[in-house]
Symmetry: C2
Subunit: 341 residues, 2 copies
């Protein structure tokens, strides 16, 4: 049976939401896996008594320290060896668990995952991706979204390779398609790094490792012709955070419009309620909680990172993502293909 470590202390609503999501995952899956919940006993245990955990495959493990959102990643890993983050990852390293899940400090989790678990054979730099809505069915992944700010061409190519493997084996996408985010479609556009990346991506396509459709531009992301959008961490992080701010921005515009129409009598309260429900429904494609979180691609182990504001549903889905990564043997495929390169 698989064992998944869940960081009880990670996330804006920890530990309450984490405990709730963990219990839900075990109940919903009928104890399909074992979960080790790790965190500060005085914070977690009083909340655990609210649940009937006797019938669940759940163990609790005390960790005296907590890595906070304010901690500096590289420092936190060294100075907080007794944190749920570091101890949880060490359980995976020692083969006492198969995966680690946290909605805490992303930078610290990246640093700790690299430090404790190391890199898969052949991997230059691990990376982190994000989900984006699209006009076409399904979702698009953008990589990198902040783990690697200055990228070399060979890094960008490996990101595309790793995500192609993830999409093929982990997400069941038959033919993942990679586009290189650039300022124009034509070959030869962009910085020196992008020009070289273009050539290397073409080579990887020729060798059958990826399917490369060339340069794409900002307006192509939501169209979804590429299932993988490759860029450096500065561009990806900016687009990701910009994208995340859109629903709130539009919500504000929506409210302003609605208030005007209500006060001028053009809308009745009934129509306003109907319209509001419709507006909320429109944003379902933006719901990334169904994935909960994403794995760090390229580390020698499974470390799933979630958004700080993760709900219990997101935590639950992160646990399923961990299970999925193990069962689909995504890391084994990455190691095999990248070390052959």
């Amino acid at each position: 049976m698989l064992t998944i470590v869940v960081d009880a202390m990670g996330g804006d609503h920890a530990p309450a939401c984490v405990i709730e999501g963990t219990v839900q995952a075990l109940q919903e899956s009928c104890n399909r896996f074992e979960i080790i919940l790790i965190g500060q006993a005085d914070k977690v245990e009083p909340l655990l008594v609210d649940y009937d955990v006797s019938a669940l495959n759940l163990k609790f493990l005390h960790a005296s320290e907590v890595v906070t959102m304010e901690d500096i990643p590289a420092t936190a890993v060294k100075t907080k060896q007794n944190s749920s983050l570091v101890k949880g990852l060490q359980l995976c390293k020692a083969k006492k668990a198969d995966a680690f899940v946290s909605a805490g400090n992303t930078g610290a989790q990246m640093a700790a995952s690299l430090f404790v678990l190391g890199r898969l054979p052949g991997v230059l730099r691990p990376t982190i991706y994000a989900y984006f809505p699209r006009i076409k069915e399904g979702l698009t992944n953008i990589v990198d979204v902040g783990a690697n700010v200055d990228c070399k061409p060979e890094n960008l190519v490996q990101f595309a390779e790793m995500l192609t493997i993830y999409q093929r084996y982990g997400a069941g996408i038959d033919k993942p398609v990679t586009g290189l985010l650039n300022i124009g479609e034509e070959e030869g556009k962009g910085s020196e790094v992008l020009k070289q990346a273009y050539r290397l991506l073409k080579e990887a396509d020729n060798r059958g490792i990826i399917t490369f459709i060339g340069n794409i531009e900002g307006h192509d992301i939501l169209k979804g012709n590429a299932t993988i959008v490759v860029c450096d961490g500065l561009v990806g992080n900016t687009i990701l955070k910009f994208g995340e701010s859109i629903p709130e921005f539009l919500g504000t515009l929506f409210k302003r419009s609605l208030e005007k129409l209500l006060s001028s009598g053009q809308f009745t309260p009934d129509i306003a309620a109907l319209t509001t429900r419709m507006f909320k429904g429109m944003f379902e494609p933006f719901d990334v909680e169904k994935f909960g979180g994403v794995p760090f691609l390229g580390v020698d182990g499974i470390s799933i990172v979630g958004h700080g504001r993760s709900s219990s549903r997101a935590i639950k889905n992160m646990i399923y993502m961990a299970e999925h990564m193990i069962e689909r043997r995504v890391n084994e495929h990455i190691a095999e293909i990248l070390s052959e390169n």
Copy 2:
């Protein structure tokens, strides 16, 4: 009286839309300036007969060649010396006109403006910015949006300085505020270029040339705490094009929702019509046609560039933008402040 050269051949709907916008500008402004419309006689003259131009301050000038959207910028400038683009800018250089306006090939206009007009004293690299909607009143400018892909820290600082001058003298913003687009708020985040740019922006703030609020992230753009968002051309171009694609993306989501609600009987056709009108109204902040286009900042002359899909209204407003740039003496202020630096 000011003389503005308008490129009749620039834009997806040229020359018809350009002629219409030019006539509107002269009529609406009561011939406040003189316009030289430049382009191919056989394309323009048959359309001009539809208007009563005898009462307008309008001259037509023949240019036998056309720079198309497909032309490679650097090549077009050299091989198409008889184009409306090159001849129009040469009129400005020869002081026979005060400004040039086009909705044609942006890259070619940038190259031709640099080649024909040259740079203002003290300017390292001219730049181009774009407008973004925001929660707060007014609009935000992003700079650079594609003219400069690989930027040095000193380029980024000059973009902020030039746009501060433009906003202060050209747009009447009392206190332009600059943010540096980065992956995190804290000083020391991001690439080496961004770290150095941060220090130089702080210095420029200390010298009173700009007001710098530090690093901002992707989700801060639409909030509008900064009136100027500084980034390199790759990031800016991607965000700009991504942003431009949002209304269409949401329009598709909206239509899908509406069709479902109509077919399930939850919405009557009347309610659907009301909701559609409301939805369209929500996007008024995205209407950048009220500006028509933007000036290339840093060239020694006034060259206004518009979107390829510019309507006649956008062309009209680009002409007003040209007039504005001349009257507010934005270039003189840029030259004065940057050459003192």
